[in-house]
């Protein structure tokens, strides 16, 4: 399956079938910091992914400065 990753943007090929949670493990990614999108639909960790699937692993973390710490 084709797996699209970010930061930096790249596409890699992973052999299926494989459960989404095993894909996370293989890529050493933390589930809490990512979403898995197949086509344009979200999938849960126990979903089976196949060779013909287009997968995006989207990071969800953002932020730089401690925004609006106070009124000052």
């Amino acid at each position: 399956m084709q797996v699209q990753l970010s930061h930096p943007a790249r596409t890699i090929e992973i052999k299926g079938p494989k459960k989404a949670k095993d894909l996370f493990k293989e890529l050493n990614l933390v589930v809490e910091a990512h979403l898995i999108i197949r086509g344009d639909e979200l999938v849960t960790e126990d979903e089976m992914l196949y060779d013909q699937d287009q997968i995006e692993i989207r990071p969800v973390i953002s932020g730089g400065s401690p925004r609006f710490t106070s009124h000052e």
Partner: protein, 311 residues
Amino acid sequence: MNCTKCKIRAVIDLPRHNAAFCKGCFNIYAHDQVSRAIKSEKMFGKDDRILVAVSGGKDSLALWDILLKMGYKADALYVNLGIGGYSDVSHAKVVNFSETVAAPHGAVLHVHTVEQEAGAGIKELAMLIHRPTCSTCGTIKRYQFNRVALAHKYDVMATGHNLDDEAARLLGNVLRWQEEYLDKQSPSLPASLDGFAKKVKPLFRLSERELAAYSVLNRIDYIVEECPMAKGARTLLYKEVLNRLETESPGTKQAFYCGFLDKQRKPEASSTTMAEKDQAMLHPCSVCQQPTTADVCSYCKMMARAKTHSV
């Protein structure tokens, strides 16, 4: 995995709630969390005019979307920081959302462009004044949001800070014992007499992953790329650490931040020291005379049990 509520195929699992939801039930969950935040912190009512600070990212656009769908009067302000292509893309995402989603609700988008006023983008400004870019950015955003909120007589200003943002900042403040910041880390800061608008964070009960999921499920076109200026920011490190803890022990971030808020709400604990408490509770063990809170100390009880079993 099926939806915990309606049993059809789930699209997201939420380990911290031991639940999984389909799109419909997840939207109900997200709106309910925001509603609980607004009510518990007395943020605003249906008649109040709200100014949402939008950046083109998932959190702020999701916040604007949720507030409009819940029937609140919410306009927005976008500050174009002049970070080259990144600002161009984020600006376009905000305008697109404003025209396609917000305008049909009667909502208005205000825009402030840093380059037009200052003659330079955020990066150049930060270099001129020898300050970190993120710090300069924070100062400009806070100033402009407050200015617009007061100029247009908004009752309250809302930002898209989520559970991860608040937990990460709390961790940073606790690690350095910055107590003056701890006092101010409430999701609702009242308006002040000296000209600061009321500020609220209605998303503090939703995690970053949940807000990204909300945006994907509701086809909100947001900027996925990280701000190039935020690379290496300490906040990102704190979030990474907290997410590792959350994966091993779901609910950690919520327990950390919401537990802090609960403690803040409770009246000051008595000033009794641990030594004073000990003196009030301790007395000699009836067997060995060592101090204990019970009649027989736990050591003597354990040894008595061991002797009984060894016989």
